[in-house]
Every structure is written in C-alpha cells, then in structure tokens.
C-alpha cells in the first residue's frame, strides 16, 4: 500500500486521540473509585446497581421502622407488666377483705386503697409514648382514651391497631387498642357467671365454676334453685327443669356441660343465676369491688353476700390478669418477629452492599495495570512518530 504523508499524520493523530481518551477514562475510574460512571460502560451492572440501591434503601427504612415499632412495643410491654402488678395488689387486697375477720374500719381502709389502685390503673391505661401519643387509644392517639365514671369508665379511643411495615411482605401490629385490652374482658369464669340472688337467706357461698364439656355447653341462662336445704333443681330460661338432685355442700352441681360448686347451708327458695359471660370493663370490675368494700365499711352487711361479691370481683380480676398476660404474650411474640426480621434485614443489607461493591467498585490493581499499559503505548506511539517524521528524503537533498 502506498503511504502518503497526509495519511501518516491523520492516522497518528487519531491513534493518539484514542489512546488519550482511554487514559482519561482509566484516570476517571481511578480517581472516582468506580468501575463505571455512566450506564453505557456496563448497562447490565448499572441496572442491577440501581435496583440494589433501591432495595438497600428500602431495607434500611424497614430497619428504622422496626426500631420504632420495637420502642413502642417495649413501652406497651412494660406498661402491661405494671398493670399486672397493680391487678395483683388489688387481688391480694380482695383476698384480705374476704378473710372474714376485718372490722368495718379495716374494710374502709381497703376501699380507699382499692380506689388508689384504680387511679393507678387509669394512669397506666392512659400511658403516652415518647411522642405524646396515647398507646391504648387505637388510632385516636391525641386524646386520653379512658375517664372514670360512677360505674366504671368511658373509652374515647377507637378499635384501630396501627401496623408498621418491617419487611417487604411483613407488617407488625404496634399497640393494642384500649377497648380490646381493658373493655373486652369476660366476666365470671370466662364462659358464664354465677350470682346469688339478693334475697337469699341461706349462707351458701359461690365457689369455683367451669365448663366441663364445651360440646354440651350451649350458653344460655339457668337458675339453680333450692327446693329444700338438701335438694336443688336447675331450671333453664323457659323454667323447664334440666337437672335436679340432692345437695351436698362443696360438691359440684353439673348440668348442660357446666359445673358449679356451692358450699354452705341453703334456705329453701334460695336461687343462683347462671348467665353467659359478657364483656366488662376492667374499671367497672374495680369500681364494683370499691363499691362492695365501701358499702361493707358503711354499715353491717351479711358476710355471705360480701363474700360472694368479693369472690365475683376476684374472678373478674383473674380474667383481667389473664387478658393482660395474653396481650403481653402477643406483644412478646411481635417483638420476637421484629428481632428476627431485623436480623434478616441486616444480613440482607450486608449482602446487598457487597453485591453493589462487587459490581461498582473498581479493581485498582487491574485499573492501574491498564493505565500503565496505556501510558507505555502512548509514549511508544509518540516516540515512533518522531522517529518516522525524521525519515524524509528531503533531508538528504
């Protein structure tokens, strides 16, 4: 091929241009520490990095969400513990009142104490988190959910339960609404209540009761009525006899899948009502106990009716304790879920960072080697050019 002077120049210039642009590219890579700065240099990796970056940011946000959820669940957890402590004191107090040898004055002191515990419970039910939100108010977090009334309390919150996203497909409920925690507590043994009629003249105490056969138990109202001090019959709501027999103090009476233990000496005509449990506010139960104690402190009452009332209150307090334990168990389970998810999130984040770094970070060793090679090529090209430029016939003329 015939090489012309102009061609030599153009080819040299374009080669130098190309070499210099590669060197500048490598230089940019080294100074930025990134293998590519625009998508064109590695489209697939750039798409992946963009994707990973988004997943990483999202995962970090889930981590933040989880921490926030943890903090409010911890607040709820400790509040529930304090509520249980208060309920336990109340229960001890009721047992003390039920011991049968207290003076009216002592009962009055217990009534005052019970009122104080009620105030404590109210304060706990109106607990606010660090941001001033009421934790037992459902979604109505800005106003105190509970206020005492003569018969119990009012609830100003709603039944909302706030959820927090802690993973791509995982939400966790933070907080439990006060209606569920404090208002929806079953009375009696959880299935039914047994209460002595006001006009009973015997000395029968209501003891433990339970459902013996969930299959046979169908709810409904029953009346246990003593036809003589030694015989009883159980009537259903239509006054039909479902069960009758001889009464032995302390021996369980069983009917329709339920069992009730009565002890003491009945009078003929004494009746006991069995009714399905209903939801009752914790504050109503406490108020009932306070009322019972105050009444007893105010004047002589029959020990039997006092005892039956206090027993009913203790049963309700036990139900409340059970409820608090259940809620606390579920809070604990949720805290566990968050911890697990946080661990998963952290390891995912580490992995993502590693993947991004693998894709995007520059391999300095190879980049510097490349730069070295490019430099060598460029200086060789420059030298070759000066050498060939010296070769001209005109020099020898």
């Amino acid at each position: 091929m015939r090489v012309t002077t102009g061609l030599e120049q153009t080819q040299f210039l374009s080669a130098i241009n190309q070499l210099e642009s590669s060197i500048s590219q490598t230089q940019l890579q080294i100074s930025s520490g990134e293998a590519f700065t625009t998508a064109a240099q590695d489209p697939v990796a750039a798409g992946l990095v963009s994707n990973y970056d988004q997943v990483l940011a999202q995962s970090q946000q889930y981590g933040t969400n989880g921490s926030a959820a943890q903090s409010s669940l911890n607040t709820e957890d400790s509040t529930l513990t304090q509520i249980q402590n208060a309920l336990q004191s109340l229960r001890d107090l009721a047992l003390q009142a039920n011991s049968g040898n207290l003076s009216q004055q002592n009962l009055g002191a217990l009534a005052t104490q019970a009122t104080q515990i009620q105030q404590t419970l109210l304060a706990l039910a109106n607990t606010q988190d660090g941001s001033g939100n009421y934790i037992f108010a459902g979604y109505n977090t800005q106003s105190a959910p509970f206020a005492l009334t003569a018969t119990g309390s009012t609830y100003a919150g709603d039944q909302g339960q706030r959820q927090v996203q802690i993973g791509p497909a995982q939400t966790v409920v933070i907080g439990d609404n006060g209606d569920l925690v404090f208002n929806q507590i079953k009375t009696g043994n959880g299935a039914f209540t047994v209460s002595a009629a006001a006009g009973n003249s015997g000395s029968v105490l209501v003891g433990a009761s339970s459902v013996t056969s969930a299959a046979a138990y169908a709810g409904g109202t029953y009346t246990i009525s003593f036809t003589s001090p030694t015989t009883y019959q159980v009537l259903d709501s239509a006054n039909a006899v479902v069960q009758s027999g001889a009464y032995t103090s302390g021996q369980a009476i069983t009917f329709a899948g339920a069992q009730v233990t009565l002890s003491g000496t009945p009078a003929t005509g004494d009746t006991f009502a069995v009714a399905p449990s209903a939801n009752q506010s914790l504050f109503t139960s406490v108020q009932n106990l306070v009322n019972t104690l105050s009444q007893a402190a105010g004047g002589p009452t029959s020990q039997v009716s006092l005892s039956n009332s206090i027993s009913a209150s203790i049963e309700n307090i036990d139900q409340a304790l059970q409820q608090m334990q259940d809620v606390q168990a579920s809070v604990g389970a949720r805290l566990n879920t968050i911890t697990t998810q946080q661990a998963v999130g952290t390891s995912q984040q580490t992995q993502l960072k590693e993947s991004i770094s693998k894709l995007q970070s520059l391999d300095y060793a190879s980049a510097i080697t490349t730069l070295d090679q490019q430099n060598t090529t460029l200086s060789a090209a420059l030298q070759a050019y000066t050498l060939t430029q010296g070769l001209s016939l005109f020099k020898y003329l």
């Binding site: 091929m1 015939r2 012309t4 002077t5 102009g6 061609l7 153009t10 374009s14 590519f36 700065t37 625009t38 998508a39 064109a40 240099q41 590695d42 489209p43 697939v44 750039a46 798409g47 992946l48 990095v49 963009s50 994707n51 970056d53 988004q54 940011a57 999202q58 946000q61 933040t64 969400n65 926030a68 959820a69 941001s131 459902g138 979604y139 109505n140 977090t141 800005q142 709603d158 039944q159 909302g160 706030r162 959820q163 927090v164 996203q165 791509p168 497909a169 939400t171 209606d179 208002n183 709810g219 399905p276 449990s277 209903a278 939801n279 506010s281 001209s392 016939l393 005109f394 003329l397």
Partner: protein, 629 residues
Amino acid sequence: MANAFGIDLSALQAFQQAITVTSNNVANANTPGYDVESIQLSSAPPQANGLGLNVGAGVVVDGVTRAYSQTAANQLNSTQAGLGSVNALQSYASQIDNLFGTTAGGLSTALQSYYNAWSTVSNAPSSGAAREALLGAAQSLATNINTSGAQLQQLDTSINTGITSDVQQINSYASSIASLNQQIVTASASGKGQSPNELLDQRDQLVSKLASLVGVTTSTNSDGSLNVFIGTGQPLVLENSTTTLKTIANPFNASQLEIASSDSNGNSISSSITSGDLGGLLAARSQVVNPALNQLGQIATAVAVTSNAQQGKGLDLNGQLGGALFSIAAPLANASVANQGNASLDVAVANVGALTADNYQLSYSGSAYTLTDLSTGASVALAGAGTAANPFTAAGLSIVVSGAPAAGDAFLIQPTAQAPGSLSVALSDPNGIAAAGALATSAADTNTGTARIGSASVIDPTNPNLLASTTLKFTSPTTYSINGAGSFAYTSGGTISQDGWQVTISGVPAPGDTFTVASNVGATGDNSNALASANQQNQGVLGNGQTSIGGAVSTLVTAIGSQTQQLNTAQSAQSALNSQAQSAVQSASGVNLDTEAANLLQWQQAYQAAAQALTIANSLFTDLINSIK
C-alpha cells in the same frame, strides 16, 4: 543540428513543467481534498530527415492528470454518511447516558426517598415534621423528573437547531456543486481536452462533505458535470440546477421540525433520510430522545396516578378524603394540520398498568377508527365507541372523540411525553396528607360471639355515602342486616360490600352481635393509608402488574446504557470503516513527499542532462562555424 536544438528545447520545457507539477504536489501535500498530479509525457512523432532516417523529435507534454479512484471516493462518501449518522446518534445517546448516569439522574434516589418518607409518616402519622418531610420528598421527586424532562426537551430543541443548520449547509454545498459543475463543463470544453483538476478536486471535496451531512449517490454526465441524489433518490443537484431543502413543522407537532424539498409539495421527506448527520439527528429524536422522555413520563405518570388514587382512599388530618398529591398533564392528543374534519380528542389515563412509553396514531377511514403504535407499527385493538359514555379504551388510555372527523383525518397521541415537564406537587398543606384510612371498623363491646371484623378497604372513593356510618347486625349466626334492614347470608371470611367500601368478618357471631363501619374522623394515629402508600413501591404498577416503579427506573437506566453502548460500538466500527476508506483514497490520491523528492531529483537530473545535450549541440555548432572561418 537544428533538430538537436529543438529536441533539447522540448526536453527542457517538459522537465521544467514536470518540476512545476512536482513542486505543486509538494505545496499541496497538506491540502484537504487535493489529489496528487502527475505529468504525462510522450515522445514527439519522428520526422524524416534528409538521410531517410526516422529520428524522434523530442518530448511532448500531453497533460497533467490527477490520481483519482472513483471506487475509493464512492466508498469514502458512503462511510462518511454512515459515520455522520452514527456520530449524531451517539452524541445524543451519550448525552442522555451522562445525564442519567447510574441513578437515572438521581431519580431512583428521589423515588426511594419519597416512599421512605411515606414509611416515616406511617411510623408517626400525626407528626407534622414527618408530613413536612414527605411533602419535601415529593417536591424533590417532582423537581428531579422536571429537570430530567427539561434536559431531554432541550436535546429535542438542539436537534431542531441541528436540522436547521444541516439543511442550510446542504443547500450551500448543493449550490456550490452546481456552480462547480458549470465551471468544469466550461473549462473542459475550452481546455482542449485538459481536465480541470483543481475544480474536480474541489467538487469531490464538497461531495464528501455533503455525504457526511446526508448520504448521497452520484452519477457523472458525459460533459463532466455531476448529479447528486439524496435519500431514496431525490435529486439534489442536476447539472447546474439544485433542489432546495427546507424545514417544515411536523403536521401533528409544530415544535418538531421535518425536512421537505422544493419539489415535495410541502410533504415531509424525513422518513427517506436515514444517513448522514441529518439522518442521525432524525433518528436520535425518534429512537433516543423521545423514547427516553416517554419512559420518564411513564414513570412520572405511574407515581402521580397511584399516589393520588391512594390519597383518595384515606382521610387527612382535617377529616377530609385526601386530595391529589401530584398534578400531572393529561396525555397529549394533537390533530394533524391536514385534518379536514373538526374532531378533537380527549385522552385520559384509564389504567396505568397498561400504559406504554410508545406514541400512537388514531386514524379515521371514513367509517372506522384504527389505532397504530408508532414504535412497533402494530395496530392496537380499540374497545368502546369513542363517545363520552363509552370511550375507546386501548393501551391504558380512554379516548373520547368529539366533533366530526373527515375520512383520512389523523391524530397523534403521546400518552406520557408531557408528564415529565408537568409533574408538580399539588398539595401544600401537610395536614392534607391522607395517612389514615377513610373508615374505621369496630365491634360492639356487648358482642358475645367470636366473630371479628377486619379493616375496611375503599373500593370507590367517589361514592357519596362512603363516610356514612353503617351498622351490621347479626340476626342469627348465619344472617345479618345492614342498618337494620334486609337479611343477608353470612359466610365467615366472606366480603361484605356497601357504599363503596368492603370489609371481611370472620368467626362465629352470636345473634345480636353488632359491627360498625364509620368515618375514621379524628383517628390521628391511624397510619393504614400511609402504609398502603409506602407499599406501592413494591407493587407491580406498570407493565400490566409486572413492573414496580423502581423496577421501571432500573430498566430505564439499563435501556439507555445498552443503547449508548451499542452506539459506541457502532461508532467505533463506522470510524474504522471510514479511516479505511480514507486510507484507500489517500493511498490512491495522496501526496507522498519522499516520492516527490525522488521525482524532483529525477526531473532535475533529466533537466541537467538536456541542458548538457544543448551545450554539446552548441559546441558542435561552434566547431562547425570555426572550421569554416
């Protein structure tokens, strides 16, 4: 004797000419487009002398010819056109590539911040700070998309500028070629067969420059003039006359320039121009810039439509159903200026999932409408009748035709091109953010059954009774009444719908159990709608439910990257072809100074020899004179 003097004289003259030609070559060693010239010598026809011998009469200069290869020149012109086109395309693609980088110009970061801000609001729905931060993040997102959109629009404008200046340049080259044609024809006719080398060089140089602007094909006439054709054979130069190119507005979109020629009756010939810088600019607009703008618009539309829809399903801190968070322009529908009827289109986004980043053309044949996807050329099925009551639906759009179209009328529909520029935050009051669900469900405390009610989801935010309070009361474990009326069969876990919402009740209810669905006003701690908004980032919003918005951003990054990478490769390939073609031309026609130096020596020696011969002839003549004396 006289003969020798004549021969020597012819030689001295010829070699002098040869040295001139060589000097001219040396002088033009670096002149672009110059073709190396050489002197053509031949021996003069012999003349019979008195002795009956045929002795040559010296040397004759036949002419000066240039080294020129038509094949190499054609090859060069064709690679010039290819390189011009790919250079223009690559330049626009790499501008977008640089603009978008690996984060789509920060879009993926802004998008993530926006959804994270929703998540933060869901953690503290009544916090003013979190709400302000969300509005800030929404504003950054809108600004980011606006900026990228404006930069892409800027590229569109610069393409228009490029087209205008290319067209001017092409016209100027064309008229220069036409005038050179004239000069060459005249010079050839008067030059007694001598070719006007310099004029030819100039013309070839112009054709090559023209080829880099718009691909050309040429043919040479017998009189030496050159015809130049562009595109699919449209004549640009015929002998000494030219066809003028001009720019016209796109019939659908006045801000987009197209190419027409003085004999195309005002019709666009853009589609036939596919090479050279001009072809590259047209391709950059339709293959690089506009698709990127449309894809960005698709993402912007998806964000705005889904965010606004979710807002409408929740309650803000003022107790109202949430208003739109973003405002965004509706799809653009332009009638062709050539339309004879008075119909206009009203186009709206009906289904974001089916929305594409393509442009469409709706044509009316006189009896039926057809919708064509301009990116794929495929026809798209139209459902509906095009009336306000029953609009056409296709490609995620609803299209209402009002007025009367004439047969042959056409409309251009750009579903998302306007979106990047028009996206803005419509909400300014942080309390207007609808973090709470619209409805609260509750179970009465007196319920004795085990049935539980789930949260209510809004199906139709426009239902006027949406926020009305509704009581569901169980009349038996298997039937319930709504607001005291009717008796409906209950299935545990089944959906109950009323007034634009739906809820699920599961479990065994007792007769008399009551559930209420009512407005959620006052529930400042409710975050359910914020949670749903934050969760939209994980949902398949685009591509018929297959692609998340973040996924679409990653796809955009990869698509622009691959396109640029491809064009980079194509550019390297075209440059290599072009430098090969240039080498071939140089090899055939370039000046090699060493050759010229050798030639110079050769002619110098020949000249010296001829001069010596003259001296000898002279001394012979002197000897003769002296002998006679």
